[in-house]
Amino acid sequence: MPESAALLAALASHLDGRLVDSFRLDQSGAVVATVVAQDLRAAARFIHEGLDARFVISAGTDCRPAGQGFRVDHIFSQDRRKTWIVLRAFTSAEDPKVPSITPDVRAADWAEREFRDLLGIEPEGHPDPRRLVLADDWPAGLHPLRRDVPYDIHPEPAAGQAQPLAPPPGDAVTVPIGPFFPVLEEPVFLKVFAEGEEVVGLDYRGFFNHRGIEKLGDSKLTYNEVPFLAERICGICGFVHSTAYAQALENAVGAEVPLRARYIRSIVLELERIHSHLLWLGIAGHILGFDTVLMQTWRMREPVMWLMERITGNRKSYGMNLVGGVRRDLPSAEHPEIVRVLDRIEQEWVKVIEAVLEDTTLLMRLRKVGVLSTLDARELGSVGPTARGSNRPIDTRIDHPYAAYDRIPVHGVWKDSCDAAGRTLVRLEETLESIRQVKQLLAEMPDGPIMLAFEEALPPGCEGISAVEAPRGEVIHYVMTGENARPYRWRVRAPTYANLQALATSLRGMTIADVPITLGSMDPCFSCTERMQVVDVRSGAVRVYSPAELREMARSGRGRGGAR
């Protein structure tokens, strides 16, 4: 890896040689640079600016059982050189703290708050050290991702832990949206500050349904059970997560996945992108009050769902991936049916694109709306169509090829309008590109096994990173192997985690009517909910209402005016 060696050498000379350790992480070519905690901020600034790397995610790890205290990893992607750089530092078990890198690397904001919440590692000098992930009634000092906290803990609700959302600036009026977003039907609370019709600021509270999936993965589930949980992180792009997890583990132990399995993964990933983009255009139409688009794109999408049921066994949550390959073959007898469905979608999609490009009403709702400059998209770590609509030429399929993407040409789509219209056009064109890719992958799919047979147990302490280009952007999984056939640490970053942090920037200066489509144009994916929870933001009191209680409240007129 001469490329990564050059990057490490540049980093070492910037730090005057104070590099504690450096080594290659896994077979994906990721490199680890360990520095002392005090150098973390200078090193991060140099990697971000000097080496032009994009911040991806941080991962905190409890290494106390090995006597190493706590570990912090900041993961960066050097897209042009197709390399991952992991900036690593250790901190003491008794008083875990590291200097915050957020003042220099804005994209690290949530990631640092997350390891503060979940592991109790304090990012010193963080500009906004409020709770991010933990619930408002979670007791202070209890950090669920620490190894000595059991996965099934149910602490008594604690009072006084809620941290207030920002007050409106100046004379601005607060427009609360949520905690159940009415358009996307998912749990998120946006406190929008407006002067007249114009949005002047935003505060955010989410993670209402944080499900502790990473904790389950490293304390309850075994290697081959995790893919099925990973798949349920997202209801739309589930296959993306199971692929990313399996690839991260395969990278960690240096497993060579059979080529046919890699082709099948790419085919299913692209089919998933096709139905996700079709779904997204429908939702965008719905948000704008143009439900004909919703009806028609979802009608076009349905044959893909039937196709998936046929080739994987389920409409969604395909259950295809295991560590080492896929469970189900894609026999050539199925290929004509796949091509037939894709041909029909392609035919109709071309007509949809023609109609959308001429529909001036639709375009007026999208142009100059949700503006996110190229520089902001870079600084805030935006990924996927959100970044590509802002003229950022990043696509994981090109920058970090995985599955079978190194075998076929991948034509990236990016637009320079930096608004919701740009993000829409990216998705419209990507769908056609995905159709082309599936057809080529099907035509060139090699014969052979679809699953790698593991002969012996996986060694503990191996680490791996994998990224997959989900319909919404780059998904990152980091895995470290452990004892008893289960991961020691499993870190997931979904694309919306990166994209939502750009919301405040892209909303500023818009009108209130443009808030739903601005958020919608990022194709956000919050966790799913099946119950409602009312949180009193001031006192931190949380109460869960049953459906019967909610009905009773609605009928009696109680509870009008929102959560008090």
């Binding site: 290697y223 099925f228 004909t292 259950g319 007509k351 109609a355 490009l357 001036t360 047979a453």
Partner: protein, 171 residues
């Protein structure tokens, strides 16, 4: 601008009109799933050897096993099923299959509870010859304790021999 707007509306109308009727008559007419669909798991109790393979690979952990003297009782809480089909994949006797049944909505949880009662007997060839498929799946704890039994079975049980019968599905 008015002209392109009008043309776009004509294009959109043509997309809508060419779709025709797409709504299916379901539930008034059956809508069978595609071949290869994985629906509710079904167990052929006469083939079950009580190895516990399904117990150890089930991600939601919906199969509970209880030993009661010579009998083993497997309780399947199918409401938790994620339809991955790993149970069918590892079953050495092909006793588990994933049916085409997808209509699982019910007001009574007992409709989604299945008990498989297996007579294990005391024979050396008790059929507990299950070994994990790959080193990535650890064996169920009860199998670790019975490593000796497993070794005996490996030696004495001819390949493909039928398992001892006596199992039944209670509900």
């Amino acid at each position: 601008m008015p002209w392109t707007f009008f043309r776009a509306k004509v294009r959109e109308a043509r997309i809508c009109l060419s779709a025709g009727r797409v709504t299916l008559p379901y539930p008034y007419a059956p809508a069978p799933p595609a071949p290869g669909f994985r629906g509710l798991p079904a167990v052929d109790a006469s083939r079950c050897i009580g190895c516990g393979g399904c117990v150890s690979v089930c991600t939601p952990g919906l199969v509970a096993v209880a030993d009661d003297g010579p009998r083993a009782k497997f309780t399947w809480s199918l409401a938790r099923c994620t339809y991955c089909g790993r149970c069918a994949e590892v079953c050495p006797e092909e006793a588990v299959t994933l049916s085409a049944d997808f209509e699982t909505a019910t007001g009574d949880i007992r409709d989604l509870t299945m008990v498989v009662d297996v007579f294990m007997g005391s024979c050396n060839r008790c059929g507990r010859c299950y070994r994990t498929q790959t080193p990535l799946d650890p064996p169920h704890p009860r199998l670790q304790h019975e490593a000796r039994v497993e070794a005996i079975c490996e030696r004495y049980r001819p390949a493909g021999a039928a398992a001892p019968t006596g199992a039944e599905v209670v509900s």
